[in-house]
Symmetry: C2
Subunit: 391 residues, 2 copies
Amino acid sequence: MNNFNFYSPTFFAFGKDTENDAGKLVRRFGGSKVLIHYGGGSVIRSGLLDRVKASLDSESIPYVLLGGVKPNPRSGLVYEGIELCKKENVDFVLAVGGGSSIDSAKAIAAGAVYDGDFWDFYSGKYIENALPIGTVLTISAAGSEGSPDSVITKEEGMFKRGATGDAIRPKFSILNPALTQTLPQYQTACGITDIMAHLYERYLTNTTEVEATDRMIEAHLLTMIHEGPRVIADPNNYAARANIMWAGMMAHNNSCGVGRSQDWNSHNIEHELSALYDCAHGAGLAVTMPAVFTYVMNHDVMRFAQIAVRVWGCQMDFACPENTAKAGIEALRSFLISIGMPKNFAELGAKEEDIDKLVDVLCNGNGRNGSISGFVTLDENDCRNIYKLMV
Amino acid sequence: MNNFNFYSPTFFAFGKDTENDAGKLVRRFGGSKVLIHYGGGSVIRSGLLDRVKASLDSESIPYVLLGGVKPNPRSGLVYEGIELCKKENVDFVLAVGGGSSIDSAKAIAAGAVYDGDFWDFYSGKYIENALPIGTVLTISAAGSEGSPDSVITKEEGMFKRGATGDAIRPKFSILNPALTQTLPQYQTACGITDIMAHLYERYLTNTTEVEATDRMIEAHLLTMIHEGPRVIADPNNYAARANIMWAGMMAHNNSCGVGRSQDWNSHNIEHELSALYDCAHGAGLAVTMPAVFTYVMNHDVMRFAQIAVRVWGCQMDFACPENTAKAGIEALRSFLISIGMPKNFAELGAKEEDIDKLVDVLCNGNGRNGSISGFVTLDENDCRNIYKLMV
């Protein structure tokens, strides 16, 4: 195991009706003027936004509103939010929504206390300071409620890039599984896929003998495999929603990633798909992961065989571990299809003729030099072959 | 899943040579005058105490020393530490050692800012305030490095009781697996047993459908089963030490216990053994757990069958799940014996003729009224039967 630091100081309030504690938690963590940042209709229609506002009112905490966050959140709204925070002397950013609202809130919180262009953070600069952030989560997926990460898309060039820093870890996150019960099945399945991808990205490591982490990742994957079909069959299954929500947070607060190398090639390869086609990130990952894993499997067959046996219940083929490794990838693919995810470019709405463009932006955009690296380093030719496997 | 809060704001610095960062971390978390609290010879002989002192010196942070913590730490030294903190205007308590030193440091930190008798906290009062605490861990066992808990023994009556409060969660914990390499094999095995007990106590729940937590507990148990024998066979196996140390922290920071009822009857029943005979807590647990589990198994046979199948690799006996449940308990017993733990009263140094006394202190001491409760409620007769199973 490599040396590491682990720090996850977010306060989690988990369970039914916990959104009514938003005001108390903002007060506890030092907020006196709040920006409430959210997406569109559902948090308004469901009454959630009103409940959060009432909770702030009951603590006599003033707030301003900025809605309009879209999936794959854009830099334009971030600039708007930064201006609003400065103008209104906001000292706390409260995201109400899913990963997109939270990621956009993180970018605003970092940009509001930074003299330069916030995009610097999405070009590699570590985030040292930010306004404190709280979240009321409505989708189990991105894990942004417990992570120091944010992903934003820049309209100009459609670059989708990530930023990180302990300063943007939420001070508190309110996780009420009941809030996710009204999600369309497709979005629920996209969330499950995203959570599983966060786990796979950390499983594909070149650091040996980190059994504690392997076992934790396997545990959360087994939870998703158990609870995913239950929640697809019955969207009102609170227990299944709760297990997915809690495991989804842990899948991405990096408790499963410390002390070893990680991959993130699937995320990088997918980001170009959702940036270009504006498809759901989880749906893109469902198509991307099996292709990437098939392509890189021979880099460490036993790692893929291990996850096949321990997570997917495959029989170990001792004479040919490659068969077991392949069976595990097929089991993942079948599972994702079973919960309603797309299996190829056509179902995703992507086009084979765009592959050269995708590869170019992926490998050469935003400061990269012809390749992406992770579990293995992939050059333009590798990435082209991987996209072709998805057609 | 029940509603819950989870808050684990401890900063973990993990890996080789991390003890040299003690001074910087005390500074980061606001300390300007430190009590270094520790046990006896080993931290002095190994040079660890000198390295910690040098690290404080390099940050120009003054300190006072209080050694002499013994296993099953006593209230007498806690009172001494509280006086010393007040007299010397200490504002940070740094424990160097295992769970005993850390628990004693927590009691001192709470008592130093409390007007009454610190034992109030060990009689049920929640700890609201304490001096900030840091730890340099030397034994993977108690999990106190990441927990809000402390256990102290009061000499008068030999009551061993616990206290809790977020205020005594360490601000930082330094976890260097190499520091555990010089431990005697017996102590290493006691630590592994204690960690496994923390997991079992949380597995035995009456809350249904908390799959995410079941899977996490199973993950950490599988890590102990994999790494325990490796570290007993080769005490210098750094990777195995590292996995045990990290899993040991997570076994007790309550990430495996939120949102559901827990047991803790094995700990309660054991505490009377280590209080009376001054045996190692882990050794006491090795004798206690199989007896308790055998006694309470029929309260929920399927729960014991589940852990037998998922953790111990037992075959499910679908015609008679009780057989599977029993096989799992036997597998645990055999594992503990294989790493050198005692299997009965005789090997532990306990005496059958003391059972009535043990039962009386357990069930009636320190405010209890004839029983202890957890996974099941156990009255005096139940506890007597359980102790008899250990003979």
